[in-house]
């Protein structure tokens, strides 16, 4: 019987199998190869401030003379900066600029420190840029829902009435009238001369800069890392405001985006380095009543927790302080407006937001194809105006 020889590339197949085996083994070990496969030399520090924890990680050659002492100095300075920012922006700490501003009479000129000045300046810029969708003066609204350390409404009857929300709206809608001045080496904020009365109490403007303040601190630590020559590492303030350098050896970090409806999981990943990042989400701080979710992000349009369908928003690039404010504003915008706003005003940044739509969970991003990976098939691209769930 004649023997038949097939032209099967046995060697090629075997080579391919070997390559697949190697890749699988590498993946199982979590080694990307090259510099990432080497154990990184790092130091880290956990800092508690602004009601959250911050993580500082630096990759360096700590066997070098003086490296440990340098990190100790850096860590001390970082802690000092964060404490300064907290002491300036706290709504309750005695001596804070924000407490002084909040406690002042309507129309009063209040001396503030440089941190409060810088953060209020950033807040004013983003307020104007977003047509008021970011507004740090929704203080009373946030408090009325129990998010400023109070108690969440236990029943529908405890939800603030339209009258109460309207009174607070008279105040926060005048945030654009805030005036900031510098006289010599002193900084001042002139409070808008607006008051509103509700339930026998007269209210004047109060602000809460906690959210944007974390981003501001991240920006300062980012600058401090530059001063110390640390090109590898990161600073993460409550995971919502991050100053990212490079991973050990100079590679990218892999950002895993929290799935807002399964926060223990991730729906998207993207390689990123040397950027500041901010995220806002309705899964971070919320309560449920009658099957409805009430989150800590407030819409200046309604004066109540956002109900736009946008579940989370992330910005990569630019300053973390501004990104904190922009992501808050995006959460308050209708999805079509948010997509248009990103295209028009934030095209220099990478943006991602998630949406709960009538036909399922969606994501929107301006990151180019190949620049990210969708990890969860439940999320499909948002392509335009859709019914919000």
């Amino acid at each position: 019987m004649p023997r038949i020889y097939y032209n099967i590339p046995v060697k090629r197949i075997f080579r391919a199998l070997c390559a697949i085996l190697c890749a699988a083994a590498s993946a199982m070990c979590g080694c990307g190869g090259g510099e990432e496969s080497e154990a990184a030399d790092y130091r880290y520090s956990t800092i508690y401030a602004m009601n959250t924890s911050a993580l500082l990680v630096v990759y360096d050659d700590f066997s070098a003379p003086g490296a440990e002492e340098k990190f100790a100095r850096f860590e001390g300075e970082a802690r000092g900066i964060i404490a300064e920012v907290e002491n300036s922006l706290s709504v309750s700490k005695e001596g804070s600029s924000v407490l002084a501003f909040n406690g002042a009479e309507a129309g009063a000129k209040v001396e503030i420190d440089v941190h409060a000045y810088e953060v209020l300046s950033a807040a004013e810029r983003v307020y104007a840029d977003t047509d008021g969708y970011y507004n740090p003066a929704v203080y009373y609204n946030v408090s009325a829902y129990g998010f400023n350390g109070g108690t969440f409404p236990a029943s529908e009857e405890d939800i603030p009435t339209d009258g109460e929300i309207a009174a607070y709206g008279e105040i926060y809608s005048r945030f654009g009238e805030l005036t900031l001045t510098v006289e010599g080496d002193k900084y001042y904020a002139i409070k808008p001369s607006v008051t509103a009365e509700y339930g026998g109490t007269v209210y004047s403007m109060k602000v809460d800069l906690g959210g944007i303040g974390k981003g501001y601190a991240a920006d300062l630590i980012d600058g401090l890392m530059d001063e110390y020559g640390y090109g590898c590492g990161y600073f993460s303030f409550g995971t919502s405001s991050i100053a990212l350098k490079r991973f050990a050896g100079g590679g990218d970090f892999t950002l895993g985006f929290t799935d807002p409806r399964a926060p223990w999981d991730e729906y998207l990943s993207a390689p990123v380095s040397d950027r500041c990042i901010s995220t806002s989400g309705d899964y971070e701080n919320y309560f449920e009543l009658g099957g409805k979710r009430y989150c800590h992000i407030f819409s200046p349009v309604t004066g109540r927790p956002v109900e736009t369908g946008i579940m989370s928003a992330t910005l990569i690039g630019g300053s973390a302080a501004e990104n904190d404010a922009y992501t808050t504003a995006i959460m308050a915008m209708p999805p079509e407006k948010a997509a248009a706003f990103i295209a028009e005003k934030l095209s220099s940044r990478l943006a991602v937001f998630t949406l709960s739509a009538a036909d399922g969970l969606k994501y929107f991003t301006n990151i180019g194809e190949g620049g990210y990976t969708i990890l969860n098939g439940r999320y499909t691209p948002y392509v335009g105006a859709e019914n919000v769930a």
């Binding site: 020889y5 032209n7 075997f14 070990c29 009601n51 129990g146 991050i242 990212l244 985006f257």
Partner: protein, 163 residues
């Protein structure tokens, strides 16, 4: 297929010795990586639980011999044991957290806290349970409290960051 091609295929279809050595090394390397991965991974049951406030350990419990207890006598920690469930109440920074340790299941979780966010509290949506030596710590920033596996040491060898 031409006769010449058939002859070429017959000649090439077998591996040369050098090929086999290289492939053998690759396979051994891959196998070694797999073994190293599974050997290094700590999948053993949770050894114990440590609770810290402001970086200082205030409570420890070891499942191995049932030893442990409050590490401070300043009233920060109170412990109640009931049928294999240990309830540890920690009072710090003007609030409290109730940590439940299930001895039989070798798990620990925060059942209750009076902070406004309640991020540390285990719920269906927030599955912050410590069930293995690899479980990440549970943080309660307002009370500066951390619940973590006994002997836990964080690693930042991974370029992955969750946001």
């Amino acid at each position: 297929m031409s006769l010449k091609k058939v002859e070429q295929v017959k000649k090439d279809r077998c591996f040369k010795l050098a090929d086999l050595i290289i492939y053998g090394v690759v396979i051994l390397l891959a196998a070694a990586l797999f073994i190293a991965f599974f050997a290094v991974r700590d999948d053993s049951p949770l050894r114990g639980v440590r609770i810290r406030v402001d970086n200082a350990a205030v409570y420890e419990y070891s499942f191995a011999d049932g030893s442990g207890g409050a590490l401070t006598e300043d009233g920060t920690v109170s412990v109640e044991e009931n049928g294999g469930i240990i309830e540890v109440t920690v009072r710090a920074y003007g609030g409290y957290n109730v940590i439940v340790i299930d001895v039989a299941a070798r798990t620990a979780r925060v059942r209750e806290a009076d902070c406004p966010g309640g991020d540390c509290v285990y719920t269906e949506l927030n599955r912050t349970e410590i069930s293995s030596n690899n479980s990440p710590p549970v943080y309660c920033p307002p009370h500066r409290l951390v619940v973590e596996p006994l002997g836990y040491s964080p690693s930042y060898d991974d370029p992955h960051i969750k946001i």
